[in-house]
């Protein structure tokens, strides 16, 4: 389904007020000149003109630490309870199209073979209102990975700011229509319009099909070392990434009570591949960097048929040593 509407900024405020009481709303918020997704109660708190948040919104679905179950011992037996993964319907308001498209990858990853209960329940109650990009920066490269600043992939509703403080609304899914129905009279019907003149220009930095082929064929190359000398092996890139899904399951507690928790993990850590014997099949950072790049453009294509990079540029912006995934892909483009 696809239908088109218009809403003024003022009415968007009213729309938010209509949604707010019954839903949890997560939206970008400015904190010390950086943007983070936070639960918001007031429309005024939402940053509508940001370029990108520091961390992605994947934690709505796949939190940093997710309790799978709690156990406690009573009367010689173990009782197990599974905490409810999500209470209210949750709306992510104003995420960028690149982020919205990451949810397509995330749902594929978590639901394809094994249906992850927590993720499934959260996904059912999750609504995504995306906001086309007016501005982009050097790190943005969505157009290089098959997306664009006004893509509706993964969104339920997509908003694009056009003239006179008016937003052009694309209702992409049934869920999007459900949201509209909260206050349908705030919207005005319209025809499909060409969004291209209202959105940011993001130059294409590499050809994704070419990149897939190149990265596929190169495993042993001195370039991996040369390109990753600066990498120090922290987890910022993976933790900021909207599609990095690696996790580590830990039992926390004693023999009497505790929890099984799923935490984020990162292939940049040396502990990630370390065996119990002490042997590490990926002993040096260049091999870990290679794994990251190959996973994004090769392994996830093999497993799910999708590349796991949406071009949000978060890893580039937050890397303390300015490692740059685009630069790496370009290097192998030239090989």
């Amino acid at each position: 389904m696809n239908n088109y509407k218009l809403i003024t900024k003022q009415n968007l405020h009213s729309f938010f007020d209509a949604l707010q009481p019954k839903n949890t709303i997560i939206a970008p918020k400015e904190i010390n000149k950086k943007y983070y997704f936070k639960p918001v109660d007031k429309f005024e708190d939402i940053a509508l003109d940001y370029i990108q948040t520091v961390l992605s919104a994947k934690s709505v679905l796949f939190p940093r630490s997710d309790t799978l179950f709690n156990y406690h011992r009573a009367d010689g037996d173990y009782n197990i309870d599974e905490p409810s993964p999500i209470e209210k319907n949750t709306i992510v308001f104003g995420m960028k199209p690149c982020d919205a498209s990451s949810f397509v990858y995330l749902s594929n990853f978590f639901l394809k073979d094994y249906q992850d209960k927590n993720i499934k329940e959260r996904l059912e109650k999750l609504y995504i209102i995306s906001l086309s990009c007016k501005e982009a920066d050097n790190a943005c490269f969505c157009t290089s990975v098959g997306s664009n600043p006004a893509s509706t992939k993964g969104s339920d509703l997509n908003l694009t700011l056009i003239e006179n403080d008016t937003y052009y609304v694309e209702v992409v899914t049934e869920k999007g229509q459900e949201l509209i129905n909260y206050s349908a009279d705030l919207f005005q019907d319209t025809k499909e319009i060409d969004k291209s003149k209202y959105i940011a220009n993001v130059p294409q930095k590499f050809d994704v099909e070419q990149a897939k082929q190149n990265i596929d064929s190169i495993f042993e190359s001195p370039l991996w070392v040369k390109d990753s000398l600066a990498c120090l092996g922290c987890g910022i890139c993976a933790y900021a990434c909207p599609t990095c899904t690696c996790f580590d399951i830990q039992d926390i507690g004693s023999q009497f009570n505790g929890s099984r928790v799923r935490n984020w993990d990162s292939c940049a850590f040396d502990l990630f591949t370390k065996h119990a014997s002490g042997h590490n099949p990926r002993p040096v950072q260049s091999q870990r960097w290679r794994n990251r790049i190959k996973h994004k453009f090769e392994y996830s294509v093999e497993n799910l048929g999708l590349i796991s990079c949406v071009g949000c540029g978060r890893c580039i912006r937050s890397c303390p040593t300015s490692m740059n995934i685009v630069k790496t892909v370009q290097i192998f483009q030239g090989v």
Binding site: T24, K38, P39, A57, P63, R64, D66, T67, G253, G258
Partner: protein, 152 residues
């Protein structure tokens, strides 16, 4: 409601304070029952992580005790420990953990009575400070509430 009974964990060295506590026992000196003693080879072995773990596991107060200066079985373990405690205490103060909940002391093998006094004093001080709510309010495991799913 019954009166608050503080839980005290005592990290003591094997050669002096543990023997001192033993002497208190063999001398039939009665002291508060709130203390759980953990024996270490030396105060030099008592890492700050152990003290944090004790708080995490529900201790309201901690006693750290070993040999008097110049008495260390390993010559200098207690001198090293002394420096570490000074610095650690300052860090706890800076973070806002009540450093009065950690009591440092020297108790020799001959000071059974001093040990009993130390435990009694500590118990009554911690009783006045009340339960260590702050640490207990910190959750060990993240909650699944949606507002907190976003790491802020």
């Amino acid at each position: 409601m019954s009166e608050f009974e503080p839980k005290i964990v005592a990290f003591v060295c094997n050669w002096c304070t543990y023997a001192g506590a033993d002497l208190a026992g063999t001398s039939r000196i009665k002291y508060a029952q709130n203390v759980r003693i953990v024996r270490f080879p030396c105060t030099g072995r008592i890492d700050f992580m152990l003290l944090l773990k004790a708080f995490e596991e529900g201790a309201d107060g901690i006693i750290v005790s070993g040999c008097h200066p110049a008495d260390c079985h390993y010559t200098s373990g207690n001198y090293h420990a002394r420096r570490r405690w000074m610095v650690f205490k300052d860090l706890l103060d800076f973070i806002g953990i009540d450093s009065r909940r950690i009591v440092f002391s020297w108790v020799s093998a001959a000071e059974g009575a001093k040990w009993a006094h130390l435990v009694n004093d500590t118990v009554s001080e911690i009783r006045n400070l009340g339960p260590m709510k702050e640490y207990k309010n910190l959750e060990n495991v993240s909650s699944n509430k949606i507002g907190e799913l976003i790491n802020d």
